[in-house]
Amino acid sequence: MTPAWRRYAPALIFLLPALVGLAVFRLVPILWSFVLSFYDWQIFDQPSFTGLDNYIHILTSPVSGQVLRNTAVFALIYVPGSIALSLVLASVLNNALRSSAFFRSALFLPYITSTVAVTLAWKWIFSTRFGLLNNALAALGIDAAPAWLADPTYALPAVAIVSIWKDVGFYMILLLAGLQTIDPTYYEAARIDGARVVRRFFRITVPLLSRSLFFVLIIAMVRSTQTFEITYALTEGGPNRSSTTLAYFIYENAFIHFQMGYAAALAYILCFLLGLLTLVNFYFRRRWVHE
């Protein structure tokens, strides 16, 4: 046994169970699903090789196009919405330390509450005839309130709003941790120099929080493409697919229609798009993230 091998052997032995688990339950399925994306396979039958057919169909099908557009619209609402709201909440709580423990918990609560349970409550809030929202609007004299979850114009934004509400507490905690690493003397110096709140926020808070913001941005982007439970419990992708996003469409194809090869191809398209967006983010990171 060489000295180098003798040095690393104990570490490798200790890591072996985790490495085997990672390989068997993560890496092999990831690679196998890539192979599957070139097959027609319903799980219970024999797979048949179809080459690029799944990819070609996805890229030319009107339904897939609609689903990709929905995913983009959802991300455009969810990512900026959740980051802006969590930043505001984190800033407010950071400046109100005495009462922040209660509000921190209250705002974090939706994140750790059962998604299906809270989504059912939102479903009732959005209900057309008996919902809290429309009855509140009627009390204000607005009788022609929309059918939030049954109207293609509002269904996807409604799913995005509930998703933001659910996740904002998590992002807020991440940003709050970042805010608490900023040295207060920067703010004192700026105050002495006469900088107002808004200026202090954009000149001190945002630059010094940029690493946390970058992390939250990446996480929010990934999560925006993974929305499933809220869509499932709130709209089931409807009406007429207007709130079906890519993750939900993958689920439908894999576990309702058992088109596993097609679902695998969809998953790899999602993976490619996410990878591309992440690369773009890392490229622009140099311009706004302060190391």
Partner: protein, 427 residues
Amino acid sequence: MTLTQHIWLPLVAATALATSMAAAQDTTLSYMMWDPEQLEAERAAIAEFEASNPGVTVEALAMPPEDYWPRLSALAAAGDLPDVFAMSSGFVQSWAEAGNLADLTGLITDEQLAQYYDSAASVGVIGDARVAFPQNWVAPVMYYNIDMFDAAGVEHPQADWTWDDFLAAAQALTVDEDEDGTPEQYGMWLYGRYSHIEPWIFRNGGRLLNDDMTALDPSPEAVNALEFLTSLVNEHGVAPAPAEMEGIRQQDVFPLGMAAMWVDGSWNIANVRDIAGDSFQWGIAQVPVGPDATEETARAYAWADMLAIATNSEQPDLAWDFIQHMVGEGRTASDFLGGKIPAFQAIAESEAWLEADMQPANKGLLLEIGTQPVETGFSRDWSAWRGYAASGSGGMNGELDEVFNGRSELDEAIENFVAYGNDVLTR
């Protein structure tokens, strides 16, 4: 040899001998199905089978459908299917084509077969082979609120009702007391769901698929049925737009007294009993025959829940014995919850199953459906083109809802769901 070896070796040998003897005598039959509540009802029948087959243990497992089909599929891929498993009318064709279902053709005699509803038993015949055998069957029926009918002075639904009779009743039963334009009580409730729509199409002699079930090609009778249903919502206002009922479970609209009539599966009898309780009297009727149908072309809509044997089962004879027990005399009426109709006629026709002391008082009407020509409406990839379960917002369901919600024209919707369906079927 050490003392320890002296003690342990005989013990190990004795244990191995006992285990091998037990293995020779004991047989485990695996059984999987999609309804945990139903499995609890079946426990007594399973125990009875075990008692009459000494040495046989039935390892029964149930999970909800959303978990059942992925799990069963994974077991099929691994070559480890249970000996006996529940099979739906919707999947039987695909599963048979994939070679997962054992051929049962020679196992049952014509005499035995005559004891079952033919409409249910025929669903498990794919090509020339019987690959699954029915346990029970279900059928959409028209639920109607007797109290509302009586209050409006409308005659209860009759077997010879025409669609005009139905419309006249629905109009009389639609009530907008405060005249705000939103009726408090509708005559009818429907949306694009398969069990709301297809009964009207099949009772009008229509078809959605071509003869060999490989392409969507709605017949003129089917289009006429869709036009009639659209008119109920958009022209006559006797049924609400689906958007208006968003947020209410679809199966609760009728039992909550929001609509006087509703067409959906017989399995909803249990839910109507639970929700409505004794708050009103209700009954069931057959969906009215359409104007385009003849006696030969009008069909009922019904399908069977079946049991199948895995092709690679190592004990097909025992598995068949178990199926015979579970679909026949081994069962009691109480095993079939709500509106599930036993495929074995003797149980279906028993007083215990007919439940004359419960609502609906005319449950026997379901048995008439089993003697009629029926259509299951299923094809390969049905869930995708039809829009079913978690895909309910898409396909034909999604397009029809857009029509009922007044955002799309029927012609356009038909064109869209036919194009999408044929894309799915030829993919």
